[in-house]
Amino acid sequence: MDNGDKKQYTGAQMVMESFIREGVDTIFGMPGGANLPLYDVLERGGVGINPVPEGVEPKSYPIKHYLVKHEQAAAHAADAYARITGKAGVCYGTSGPGATNLVTGIANAFMDSVPLVCVTGQVIRALIGRDGFQEADIQGITIPITKHNELVLDVDDIPRAMQQAFHIATTGRPGPVLVDIPRDTLQQKGEFYWSDKVQLRGYRQNGLVPDPNEIQKAADLIAQAERPVILAGHGVIISRAYDELLKLAETANIPVITTLLGISGFPGTHPLYLGMPGMHGMYWNNRAINDADLLIGLGVRFDDRVTGRLDDFAPKAKIVHIDIDPAEIGKNVRPAAAIHCDLKTGLTELNKHVKPGERTAWFEWIDEMRRDHPSIAIRETDEVLPQFVIDSIYRETKGDCIVCTGVGQHQMWAAQYFWYDKPNSFVTSGGLGTMGFEVPAAMGAQVAAPDDTVWSICGDGGFMMTLQELATIAEYDWPIKFAIINNGTLGMVRQWQELFYENNVVSTPLKSPDFVKLAEAFGIKGLRAERKEEVAPVIHAAMEHDGPVVVDFRVTYDENLYPMVPPGASLDETIDQPAMETAPAGKQEVKA
């Protein structure tokens, strides 16, 4: 606790000082009229009131600001940064359009439970509600897509509001928080008051300790189960419960399925790992879920893309559900054991009670299923198949990279054909399904993990939505490798038109620019692969280049994504990959 000296500081200085105290080192954003005071103090640091964090020089604290070209990219980049580091991502936008441009990014973070602190400038207080220039009621707009938001009208409230924003964003089930501050409040002076305690009577941090009865119930269910599966979600990564999950799976001998956002929460080449379930999940996973007698949901929300028709989801299974968010427990499925708890803590406790299991028959059943239904086999052909490209990237990089994706077919293929051994190495937009996420997400991931190689697997549709950020990437010389899976169409949508709209292909074929020339216009290396034998050398060339690279992979136009559960159907109705002459996909080779 400190009241500091009685000196007066501006609101903008207080924001900066709050960042320093919360350990912020990276901001993505764009200046404008209303948030200029924040930029004015950007390179001057905070107010430097004692006590400062240990080892931190108050005025030289390096908060690095990255100037994006569109605020949506700031929010997505902060989102990816938060996913990789586990800290709250921070982004800036000005009032009005600056703030509304953040909205997609905020909604994306909200759906995927990503801690984000967005600070927006607002028009001066005298103009609020009077349709001032560049005014938008961003607090009202973001109510349904933030965990919390606040319009700060008094300079003295800024430290409290900032502290609460970080507290709310990063604790419990994480989520985005928006703090909207009028320009004149940022310029107003006041005393800086910082408390080491957060007081929020409506925000209880519960689920810190699991209910021992439910833990025992869950342990008993696991002991009795003959055909159990673990369904691990984003919670594993958010809670960094990799070791605990591995221990549970290995001790009790239970196969692990991860949801799209749970991918890289469990080693991809581990013998117990089965891949992804759901709409485009592995055939064997969907069958295993519907044949299991116990389903252990860890940090999952049983999304409709995972469950298929809910009434027919896991009909034979009792369900154990561990989740930090009490509102998720019992929302879509009724658990037999419900553990409301942080996943790491809950699993640590559960692991104490779990006994080794055999389950030979169950594994034989699964192996048979995998043998008979090679869901991710790749067709033998001279054409460049998108799956082949993604499989090649996996082989050539040996999986040693962080993968960011957009949304669509390429995203699903990146989930199916890549085997993520490195924890938290897959960054994708799951809940909201935001096309265009791939470009700014790669920026955030690269900033968060400067020593890692970041591969951004892009759709040609999504890439066009955020490609302006190539200028940002060129400016900061982030060595991101963009692999555009260029099939000349909005592939996933075209597939739906083909399958569910009598092949009435409307507004899905794309006339894209020359991506190589485009990259070069931004000062970025551009490469292209048009034939199968060019794919591997081009990937190598991209890896060997020090700076950013855009690779245009010209793949077949009409490749469909399988397996597929038709919308509204049950997991039992999974359509597997059509029968084909096959070549083995990467995983088998890596394992051999």
Partner: protein
């Protein structure tokens, strides 16, 4: 928690009471959640509670749908300190109505007779109109209004239900302590 779900589901309308922060935007947040899930709020009454800085809201939501999900989502709002669905509990519920009627020399005493029957108060009398105030459960107010339909009602305003559970227990029994969480610079808690 889950056992009572089926009981709650059978009861309509739902009566839900919430203790919320008394600050701008709270009503907006709360209403937004109901809207998002497609619930129509039949009535909503808000006013100060026994705790400084906190208001108490009473919602009536007429729906077959299970309101439990919304209640849980509302409970997650930072501005909602506590919330519970008391539909299945033994409660007292009242609302107030103020009714303006046209009246003449002839009808005035008849209207006052009806008002007396319902223990309604006369708030205002003028040569050609009068205003009644009635308090009771919705059924009582409905009956009064029905009887008064014989005369010309020119304006009717109802507060909507306010409710409280019976007995010594309070609606939000564990009055939230001023909970504090340690928060140290540069340390994130997850």
């Amino acid at each position: 928690m889950t056992n009572s779900t089926d009981d709650i589901r059978k009861i309509r309308p739902h009566t839900i009471i919430a203790l919320v922060e008394d600050r701008p935007g709270v009503l907006n947040r709360v209403a937004s959640k109901w809207r998002q899930r497609g619930f129509n709020i039949e009535s909503l009454a808000v006013g100060h509670s026994e705790k400084p800085g906190l208001s108490r809201m009473t919602f009536v939501v007429d729906s077959d749908a299970n309101a439990e999900q919304v209640v849980r989502q509302l409970d997650k709002l930072v501005d909602v300190v506590d919330i519970r669905d008391i539909s299945h509990e033994d409660m007292v519920a009242r609302e107030m109505a103020i009714i303006k009627l046209k009246s003449t020399k002839e009808t005035r005493s008849q209207i006052i007779d009806i008002a007396d029957l319902f223990k309604a108060n006369l708030l205002d009398v003028s040569p050609d109109s009068l205003i009644l105030e009635a308090t009771g459960d919705e059924g009582k107010i409905d009956s009064l209004v029905t009887l008064l339909r014989d005369y010309e009602i020119t304006e009717l305003v109802r507060t909507g239900r306010v409710a409280m559970i019976r007995g010594g227990g309070v609606s939000h029994p564990e009055l939230p302590k001023e909970e504090q969480y340690d928060r140290y610079p540069g340390v994130h808690t997850w």
